[in-house]
Symmetry: C2
Subunit: 236 residues, 2 copies
Amino acid sequence: MTPDISTLDRGSSLQRDGLNHQAIEDYLKTIYMLEREESPVSTSRISAARNVKPGSVTSMIQRLNKLNLVNYKKHYGVTLTPSGQVIALEVIRHHRLVELYLIEALGFSWDEVHVEADLLEHVISEKMEERMAAALNFPEFDPHGDPIPSKEGLMVDIRGQRLSTIKIGHTVILARVLDDKNSDLLRYLADIGLLPGARVTVVDVAPFDGPLTVLIDGKEKVVGQKVASTVLVEKA
Amino acid sequence: MTPDISTLDRGSSLQRDGLNHQAIEDYLKTIYMLEREESPVSTSRISAARNVKPGSVTSMIQRLNKLNLVNYKKHYGVTLTPSGQVIALEVIRHHRLVELYLIEALGFSWDEVHVEADLLEHVISEKMEERMAAALNFPEFDPHGDPIPSKEGLMVDIRGQRLSTIKIGHTVILARVLDDKNSDLLRYLADIGLLPGARVTVVDVAPFDGPLTVLIDGKEKVVGQKVASTVLVEKA
DNA sequence: TGCTAAATTTAGGTATACCTAAAAATTATC
DNA sequence: GATAATTTTTAGGTATACCTAAATTTAGCA
């Protein structure tokens, strides 16, 4: 008997029994994210992203391949199959909804929610997902500006460009923070007001990839290139 | 090096890393519950309660014993150590808080929350626990009337007696439903109004362990012995 | 007391998800 | 185009949490 997705897929692709599908879901999520950057995805990229040894990645990829969740060609790389994408997007939807819910409904700060959501994303039911989405009035973006996939698996595209590329004199709106895992960075961004929705005017850029002087909602701040390149902005 | 509780105990005794302590927590919870009925707890009782083969129970007990979470004497039975009790009570607290939160904050019905809580109880952080408790105004009882242990591990005693033991003519208040796993039963109870807080007068009891005729909040209903013995009541 | 029945433990096996270290394949460089 | 460096895979091992089946211990009963 060949194992197939239906073994995994009950209710809505996620685990609802005693089985631990957390590892599978985490791999699919990771592969989905990495495919946005470059596809196919190599063993080493997954290994680095998941902080797991390359050998472990290979054996898990082989398992995912048997389950028809990824396309796999030795020494070449992996891509998600449609079934794999469905699961990945569902996990991402859960993650982002949970992050927003923790902030909006339970008063968490945005630098705390990532770790919590990484666990909850594998455990909440479809019903809970629906109820949280309804309580949040069916949001389209999470607290970091990341789009929340719809129940049908649709997600708006990555928009905007890095703040570090904006020329002096231009005013933009902060749309998205690219790193949601670095709590220290997130606390710093919140501190200086660099939150999604903030109006940012580039006043000056020091030479040789130097820091940017910006007006954030009226107040002048100086931010380094590293910080400026982790936030995406849109035209005001 | 002898393994000890400190390996497990980070933050507040529950898992906060990649490790899967769910099985341990489930066993401790089960043993705690069974000890309320009779202590020490035999292998077969745990086996029945957890729906796991006796041999599996023995090997898990041996592991828990090495971790100093249970006292274990071969062929005799197990009891929880203080460390084991701390974890058990924390899991129970999580479970009952989650059940109440799902009903109060997310509009679940009381027959749906048990399964969900069985998963979430192992995953929520101390912070989330606190925030949910605060949102619920630090409740003392869950939707089934089960007491919610305090953060310090204190829990009020089981009070009341089974409705089936109440004599004709007496009026009582429903305090607690003893079976929170049977969704069909819970739906039935909700349907006829047998919810915690309901005012129940025993109008008649048919002979030979026959059904009870009761007034529930004014309306006359007939309930069987089985149902009447799964709810605890207190003097009005 | 002795024997049987029931409960419990031990022994050996499976699947998951990791690991390390060695082998193999690919890519880069001279 | 051969060799070196890197990446990837394979092989073999660990721990968890189950399983089945056999062996052992305890308990019940004549």
